[in-house]
Amino acid sequence: MRYKKHESSVIEPDMTPMIDIVFQLIAFFMMVTNFEQTQADERVKLPSDQLARPPVVSREKVLVINVGFIRDKEGEKTDPTAYVFEGDSKTPVLEYGPRLKEEKRVAEALYGPGGHKDMIIEIRADAETPTGLVQELIKLAQEAGFEKFSLRAKQLIR
């Protein structure tokens, strides 16, 4: 009687397709990950508009100011006061003047005397913020010596 000789039965799966897919996934996540938007604060619910288009040329000297409310998990306001958020700290909008003057000094130290004048103050304000407070914030920034402002909004795609 003849016996068939069995070869070693360790099955090595073909890894190539899996690695291909995994590399595709990594490439995808690397492309869509945006590390630049770190100054945006998630607590701010921006208004949306069709005409809000990102600037064609990225700006160099920008100071982002996030204005919003403290909200619970359902998104309801728990405090009617509007705050300027900076990381974990929050300052009522009308008390933000000294901080802006500090920013002016920092800008002058970085870019030289008068360097703050080219700096754009980007205001990211919550859709429900009273307009008067945004105007007061612009006024405080003007008093600190800033001249250029832009109002940020989400791009609405219809």
């Binding site: 996934l25 996540f29 208004p47 508009d49 005409l51 990102p54 990211r124 006024k139 003007q142 909004a153």
Partner: protein, 166 residues
């Protein structure tokens, strides 16, 4: 003399895939966890130079178009006015404002079309979203055919804030 035959075994070197796959999975998990889906943001430039009255040029410039936004007590929109003209308070009010500004800018006999300026005068408690809508309506519109933004007025500024009494 006996010649030794050096038998070279088949030299197929198989690369160790396990460590590479480990690292690749680590990378994949890192990028998956750090991914934050952020909606695209854009902005509107506001023209608010300091001491504008003092540096105003002696040339004759047209007076700014005054857009008044009136608020209800809860911050919702009570009315839109352009140069004292009522444009309503519904969602179409900003479309009407856009059309009015378009008429002003598009008139061929208007020599100041490029120099037009809009001054937005909003109530203190009005929700900011309505101001953005008004700024957008004054700035231009998106062409339905091409999807490009057609600009009307580049200069938009705010009137001084109307602080509530007391």
């Amino acid at each position: 003399m006996k010649i030794r035959e050096s038998r070279v075994a088949a030299t197929k070197i198989e690369a160790q895939m396990a460590p590479m796959i480990d690292v690749v999975f680590q990378l994949l998990i890192f990028f998956m966890l750090t991914l934050k889906i952020i909606p695209v943001e854009g902005d509107f430039n506001i023209n608010m130079p300091i001491g504008q009255q003092a540096t105003e040029s002696p040339d004759i410039t047209p007076p700014p178009i005054k857009v008044r936004l009136i608020a209800n007590e809860d911050g919702s929109l009570a009315g839109v006015q352009m140069n004292q003209r009522q444009l309503g308070n519904d969602s179409l009010a900003f479309d009407r404002l856009n059309a009015e500004i378009g008429n002003l800018v598009g008139r061929r006999d208007n020599p100041f079309a490029d120099e037009l300026e809009v001054e937005i005068d909003a109530d203190y408690n009005l929700h900011y979203r309505f101001v953005i809508s008004a700024v957008s309506a004054c700035t231009g519109y998106v062409s339905p055919e091409s999807g490009q933004v057609i600009r009307y007025v580049e200069k938009v500024k705010f009137a001084p804030p109307r602080r509530p009494a007391g």
